[in-house]
């Protein structure tokens, strides 16, 4: 395998609330290869945005990286000076925030916002910046004559494309996109996902795609990282992880998803809700909702261990994964005993 572009090891991020620390991300470990799209999935509040933001170190004021490392092209992002980090932002690692389409500045034209990044950050001359802007708009499929328009003159989907153009401006190696298609309807969503795939293929860019939709992962990602309550519970190649998940949470997610390609049967929700991160349970955090939990699950936290090759899962019953998968398909398995 080639040298990873980004390698996280035991990365933890804490929020201070009052006198207490909430560990929002705990011991995250995974790699991102060059020219690949990695899906970061999990339910609301599991720490996806926190983790994504930590990689450009644009965290909330009450947040801090509590431990671990994130090595990008040989340098540990966690240990970099603010000045050095600033040098990486946009040029090497670009971030598209959650609801980016609302984050464009309403008082400047989109063209001048692009020019700003290109000249101030990228040190380009005006004329070169203009040419580059046109090229970027072509890449993301917007007519170049719309560079003079203001954000409100675009639809939500087009604003999202403008945000992608901004992220691409300085030719980064890694784009971190936080829920780039969640608020969009299916046609626009598809067009943006196709865009990301094309950029990966054409420019060899890597993408960390934050989403809660496993259909989106199945459509564009090469690898997937599943988080639950602040921890990575499963990671592996997309196809293997979705067709043969080794963690019960991922098995449950699959059942909860509508599938246009399959029969319209029952959907099976994962009953209950994730634990309060300020006060997490001991042992496996999924245990209160897991139909396969055993006594040891409530006392010992499972480690992320290989299941098959580079497909890993954090479950005490990983050796029985195949049998658990068979049981997980039945919706009775997920019913909460009365």
């Amino acid at each position: 395998m080639t040298e990873p572009l980004l390698s996280l090891k035991d990365l933890s991020i804490a929020y201070k609330v009052g006198a207490h620390d909430t560990i929002a991300v705990e011991g995250a470990t995974f790699d991102v290869q060059p020219g690949s799209i990695v899906g970061l999935v999990g339910e609301s509040g599991c720490g996806k945005t926190t983790l994504a933001r930590s990689l450009t170190r644009v965290l909330a004021a009450n947040a801090r990286i509590a431990g671990g490392e994130a090595v990008f092209c040989g340098q540990d992002i966690v240990a970099l000076s603010e000045r050095a980090m600033n040098g990486l932002r946009w040029r090497e690692i670009a971030f598209i925030p959650q609801s980016a389409m609302n984050s464009l500045d309403p008082v400047y034209t989109v063209g001048s916002q692009l020019a700003e990044v290109l000249t101030r950050r990228g040190g380009m001359a005006r004329a070169a910046a203009r040419k580059r802007s046109e090229e970027l708009f072509e890449w993301v499929g917007i007519e170049t004559n719309r560079l003079g328009d203001y954000p409100h003159q675009f639809s939500g989907g087009m604003r999202q494309r403008v945000a992608i153009a901004l992220a691409l401006a300085l030719d980064p190696k890694l784009i971190i996109a936080d829920e780039p298609v969640t608020a969009l309807d299916v046609i626009v969503q598809r067009q943006i996902l196709d865009q990301l795939r094309e950029l990966k293929e054409r420019l060899g860019i890597s993408v960390i795609l934050v989403t809660h939709d496993i259909s989106v992962v199945a459509y564009v990602c090469d690898r997937v990282v599943v988080m639950y309550a602040g921890r990575v519970v499963e990671t592996g190649p997309m196809a293997a992880t979705l067709t043969a998940p080794a963690h019960p949470y991922t098995m449950g997610l699959r059942n909860a998803f509508p599938d246009l390609a399959g029969a319209a049967g029952e959907l099976t929700p994962i009953e209950g809700s994730p634990p309060d991160l300020a006060n997490p349970p001991a042992g496996c955090r999924f245990a209160p909702r897991c139909p396969f939990a055993e006594a040891r699950c409530r006392t010992d936290a499972p480690e992320l261990l290989p299941y098959e090759g580079d497909h890993l899962a954090a479950c005490h019953r990983i050796a029985e994964a195949e049998a658990l998968r068979a049981r997980a398909v039945a919706s009775e398995t997920w019913e909460i005993p009365a």
């Binding site: 639809s155 309807d185 598809r190 809660h212 199945a218 059942n255 909860a256 809700s273």
Partner: protein
């Protein structure tokens, strides 16, 4: 579309909801001064039917829903409920109508008054409808059981922020159902919810239908969701119906070129799926300046001469209705 003997509960005839926009400047510049959010929509709904309203953002789904429960008054055509023209209703008749229909809003986090406890939230419609106080507790518990909020007593005295999104959406549904309406419009009721919770809410929706026989419209842009709760689907584009038929037929064999793109756009949770480019032109529809003839023609991969000059009318193909010249008999 079902050929049943009994009269339809809801009947739309060339219904229109047009909004004035722009003002004098637009007028002077010769730009259109009206958005045709709903533009000549005709369909019938029979009791107990559940119909999905499908289409891209801005195609007029919410506007249609609001018109059906008379939050907006149709600006043209006719909207009938149980044989009566609802535009003509006023006073007591309008009040009675309002207790028979309900709209479930998109965002559960905004739909509930944050200073009301769940008990207050659910009692409010009962009070407005002058239901005797003695019946309140019982009806609240029944509504909560209907949406599967099992141990209701633990929720009664909580405030909305003390509930999860899925629980909140169930409360919103319970409130809409507490007066036992005959008809509900659910406007993207799960789009704000986490996926693992969505499944639960969709199942509740199905259960409620089975138990109460309620007539329902379910609004969404995602056919994968509509399919779980509606046996029939109506597809809209720029304020007009383009296709109407049994959901499973539409999933398996969409006839209208726009429906074909909508179906192809839905990602599925499997590794091997088509990555073919969508059969639809780029760009978003502009509701202020729709093309002449078929309003889909600027994005339609199969448009031909006739599409620019003539708006396609309805063609019946088995139990489907399609508005597209490709399917129309030769004139």
């Amino acid at each position: 579309m079902r050929d049943t003997q009994d009269p339809p509960l809801i009947k739309l005839e060339a219904a229109e909801l047009h909004f004035p926009v722009g003002g004098i400047l637009a007028q002077l510049q010769g730009r259109s001064t009206v958005v045709k959010a709903v533009d000549g929509v005709t369909f019938e709904l029979h009791r107990g039917e559940s119909v999905g309203l499908l289409g891209e953002s801005g195609c007029g789904k919410t506007s249609t829903g609001r018109m059906l429960v008379r939050l907006d008054k149709a600006t043209g055509g006719r909207v009938e409920f149980d044989g009566e023209d609802i535009s003509a209703l006023s006073g007591d008749a309008l009040k009675r109508f309002r207790s028979r229909v309900q709209l479930i809003f998109q965002n559960p986090f905004e739909a509930l008054n944050p200073r009301f406890t769940i008990r207050d939230v659910l009692a409010e419609p009962l009070e407005n409808a002058r239901i005797p106080k003695a019946e309140h507790e019982d009806r609240i518990l029944r509504a909560m059981a209907l949406v599967k909020l099992g141990d209701a007593t633990q929720f009664m005295d909580r405030y909305p922020h003390q509930l999860s999104g899925g629980q909140l959406q169930r409360i919103v549904m319970a409130r809409a159902l507490i007066l036992e309406p005959e008809f509900v419009v659910a406007d993207e009721p799960v789009s704000m919810l986490d996926v693992s919770v969505r499944a639960g809410v969709l199942n509740v929706f199905r259960d409620v239908r089975a138990k109460t026989g309620i007539t329902a419209i379910y609004i969404s842009h995602d056919l994968a969701l509509v399919r779980y709760v509606c046996e029939r689907t109506i597809v809209m584009y720029l304020g007009r119906i383009v296709e109407d038929g049994p959901t499973e037929d539409i999933v398996a064999n969409p006839l209208h070129p726009y429906t074909q793109a909508l179906v192809a756009a839905v990602p599925v949770p499997h590794p091997d799926q088509s990555h073919e480019p969508l059969p639809i032109g780029r760009g978003a529809p502009d509701p202020r300046n729709p093309p002449s003839g078929c309003t889909f023609r600027d994005r339609c991969p199969r448009a031909f001469d006739r599409c620019a000059v003539e708006a396609p009318g309805p063609t019946r193909i088995q139990n489907r209705i399609v508005h597209c010249h490709l399917h129309a008999p030769e004139t």
